[in-house]
Structure formats: C-alpha cells, structure tokens
Symmetry: C2
Subunit: 145 residues, 2 copies
DNA sequence: AATTTTTAAGATAAAATACTCCTTTATGCA
DNA sequence: TGCATAAAGGAGTATTTTATCTTAAAAATT
C-alpha cells in the first residue's frame, strides 16, 4: 500500500531536512541536499520547483542560492503539503476503487473508509512541518540514510 | 491516494460480481464478466489466473467453463484477498516512506499510522467477500457501470 | 565583462504498471 | 473424431511514473 508517491516522499523528506537539519542559513542548496539525502539531484529539483511554483518555497539562483521556505514551516500543514505534492484529490478516492462510489451512492466500504480518511485528514490538518521536524529532532530520527 | 492498484480493483470487483450478481451457476464466464464490468478481457484473465494459482478460485476450461470459488466467499477474508492481489507487504509500509522507519526506529508518524493501519487490518480481517456482497445487495450498489 | 554557481526547463531514458495478443491445453458436443 | 469454446501461459505493447541528461538563464563574485 504505497500511500505517497516517490516524488511525494522525496519532497517531504527534503522539506524535513530543511526544517530539522539545516541551520539558520536562508537558502538551502539543492545539490547539497540531494547528496545528503541520496536523491537524484535533477529529480529533486523538479519536485522542489513544483513547490516553489505552488508558493510554499522561494528560490534564489547564483552562488549561495537554493530554496527556502516562503511560508514558515510552523504554518505549513501536512494537508496542504501533501495536496501540493500529490494532487488535490488525494483524500477523495474510494478504497475499493469502485466506479460511481461517492456520497450519493456509497460502496459497502465507503463509510468505514471515510472514517479512516477523516482521521488521517484531521491529523494532517493539525500537524505542521515544524511539528514533524521537532519530533524528528526529539526522537533523533535519522533523515539521512 | 491510490490504495489499491488497478489490477487489485478489477480483481475485487470481479469477485464481488461473482458473489452478488451471479446466480447459482458454478463457473462464471470470464469474457462475460469482463464485458459486464467493462474490464479488458485479457487483463481480467491474468488477474483471475493469479487468484486461481493462489488457491482462491478454481477454473474450468471448455464450453460453460469459467472461474468459480474454491474457497466459499464466506471464508474469504479481505486481508487474504488483498494480500493475494496486492502482495504480502501491503500493510507494512511507512506512511511517509522514510528510509529506515520501523519498530526499531519509528518515524514521527509511525505510531499514528500504525494505529490507522491496525484499524484497516482488523476491519479487513473480519469482513469477508460474502459480507461485502450482502452489503452490495442490501444497498443496491451497482457494480456494473 | 568574465566566471562561477545555481535554478529553470525540456528532452530523453529506464522502470513499473497497465493492458493486449497469440498459442497451447482442456473440455463439451455433434 | 472433429470442431467449437474457454481458460492457461507466455510474450509483446502502451502508458505512467521515476529518474537522468542537456542546455539555457539568472544572479553573485571577481
């Protein structure tokens, strides 16, 4: 059960790196990050470009350039991040993939799945990137393989 | 958030069709099913072949042949079906896809996600194909597009 | 202005997933 | 026995996702 795509994972991991591992320098170098996290530089570039276009990050070229948060990580909620990375319909899929399943004609698993999705949604809706970063530091979770 | 692959969806839908739409005839014709459910015949064949090999279905060639349940749908639990369709590691993935996340070194979302997975698991572990079929009949859910 | 460092963008390649086709084998029926 | 039917099995194609390469453009340093 892959919940989040590779691209989504990499994006999330990079932002967590920016939040938790990086000091207070504004712009984080993408090449550097790609090497530390062992993610293809060009692929990561694409993913972060997307987040820049969607207004979560800002970027700066030239020496000492890179990407930085446009919105402070304290106000980046996972819901928004996941939607930016995975698409807006992330939370709207039928568990069984049954055609026509929805509120109007719920499949046998619809309500059960809705409950679970709602839980996931609300967890994502009130945890921020900063929260995750803090937890990572606290638990000493190694982001870097 | 695609939880189940296309192949998994088709397989599940076909079995639900067999449970709920089909009369009491033993073998269900795959071509017929593929047309009714609007799934590619060849693709569906592959999927059901897999279930036959895994011992959930049996098949019969020749006129009036098709596939039938080897195990009665009353004792096919979703856990087993999903594992057969999607692979045994279905319930073992990290939500954030963080490398190294596990019981030994849980990521910040690990316990939260474990809870949700456990809920899903236990729901799947005690609902059978027959249960779903019954619900479909009761709710008059249309399997056929 | 030239050089360096970095993002931006588009084209291409590899891998995974989704889907198709064709031949073989088993079965039923005339 | 011969023909039609239906699944099994193997190989092949297409599409999507993931990843890489190549070139261009922007910005800072010298």
């Amino acid at each position: 059960m892959r919940v989040i795509s590779k691209a989504g994972e990499y994006g999330l991991r990079a932002l967590l790196y920016m939040v938790s591992e990086n000091g207070e320098q504004e712009y984080v170098n993408i090449r550097d990050m790609s090497e530390k996290l062992d993610i293809s530089f060009h692929f990561l570039t694409k993913i972060l470009q997307n987040l820049t276009q969607k207004g979560l990050l800002r970027s700066y070229r030239g020496p000492n350039g890179g990407v930085a948060f446009l919105i402070p990580p304290e106000s980046i909620y996972l819901t928004d991040l996941i939607k930016a990375l995975e698409g807006d319909d992330f939370f709207d899929k039928c568990l069984l993939g049954l055609p026509g399943c929805g509120e109007a004609q719920p499949c046998p698993m619809h309500n059960f799945w809705k409950e679970i999705k709602d839980k996931l949604k609300s967890e994502f809706a009130h945890t921020t990137l900063a929260d995750l970063g803090q937890a990572i530091r606290k638990q000493r979770f190694r982001l870097i393989p």
